[in-house]
Amino acid sequence: MGIMRMGYAHVRVTDMTEAKDHYANTLGLYETHTDVSPEGNRRVFYKGWDEWDHHSVVLEEGGVGVVKYGWKVERESDIEDIEKKAIDFGLSVERMSRGENPEIGDGIRFVTPSEHVFEVYHQATAIGTEVGTHNPEAFPRHLIGVGAPALDHSLITAEDVGGMQAMLAHVFDFYATERVQTSLDDDAHVIATWMTSTNQVHQMAVLEGANAKLHHFAFRLNDWNEVGRAADLMAMDDVPIDVGPTRHGITRGQTVYFFDPSGNRNEVFSGGYLAYPDRPVNVWTPEQLGKGVFYHARELNDRFTTVVT
């Protein structure tokens, strides 16, 4: 099936001590590894309690924004298949070796038309979820803070959203679940797109903006109550909330947007419908974009659409 999920988001933080407090104590991720990058930057690796692979979030000290994303494929042979499609699309692809990313196997790396770095891999060291697989409990008893179970998706910005949509479709076999475009005409300009390869409502979304930038990366929660409780914990921990709790018209998901201590935008996200490749794409046009993004307030603000790291 090719890409199964976004396996990891690797981001930069200006202050590792504050970042660790946020990701470990507010969001409740589990630290699995710490090292120094070949460039000499401190790195800390995390996983959520319901994730089994070694890590899903990597923090690297120095700067802000996204370093790269890792995409996990179902079969080893998928890597070669994706490599061929990437070359066919006109991208330059390089091989990456086991250990270039700690506890991640061989794979490929390429820079997208939006100037983001994507890595594709099949093997990751298995740690196991915090409840195991043999007669597992419903959740770990002593979660910290939000207790986010897993990384969910990311939104990046790109100068050419249509081009990124074409790349994700051709190279990753992603399909769009929702789209924002200037009109319903066939030749309308694509302003944003939400894409996936599975039943997950989106794994990656792309919004018109500067290349190489991060809008947010999101963690999965189960329902509205957990989203509300997460917002309460953000108030307790003085986490700046950007928007929410509210619902998205697009994806129907429930959300809080907030910022980490370096200013990278995070989200907790729950709900959203089951996606299928044959489900007709939801199309939003600019006059209802406010409602599409924030279903209750129905008003876009410039901060949400222009603040990126």
Binding site: T14, F259, D260, S262, N264, V307, V308, T309
Partner: protein, 121 residues
């Protein structure tokens, strides 16, 4: 107790020692519309420092505030801490009028003694 003066409106706010500019203005009742991530990552709140000096008590990425910008008087208000009194340029449309409603109780500029009772920000 540094005073932040905003031009061209002439508003003044009395900040607590060590308090960042943006948090201090909010605590004093001013609604500033140039607010981004509030953690120094996006540069959305960057405005012009006309007079005075600020320091940064957190590391700020060069991609957000370069050395040249610091030298030219840019002020990343969410992370900037005044060293003494400062004057900033903030377009009239980017800041509310002098605090009204309940917010007027927050403006401690005229009553320095009250500032210490609201340093929680």
């Amino acid at each position: 107790m540094p005073v932040v003066r905003i031009e061209p409106s002439g508003f003044e706010a009395q900040l607590a020692p060590g308090e960042p500019v943006l948090a201090g203005l909010a605590r004093c009742g001013f609604t500033v519309r140039k607010v981004g991530c509030r953690r120094g990552g996006c540069g959305f709140c960057k405005i012009e420092l006309l007079e005075g000096e600020v320091t940064y008590d957190h590391p700020v990425a060069d991609s957000v505030l370069g050395d040249d910008e610091r030298g030219e008087g840019a002020c990343l208000t969410c992370r900037a801490v005044p060293v003494g009194d400062i004057t900033l340029h903030l377009d009239q449309g980017d800041v509310s009028a002098a605090p009204t409603g309940l917010l007027k109780y927050l403006n401690t500029a005229a009553t320095p003694a009250a500032a210490t009772s609201s340093e929680r920000e």
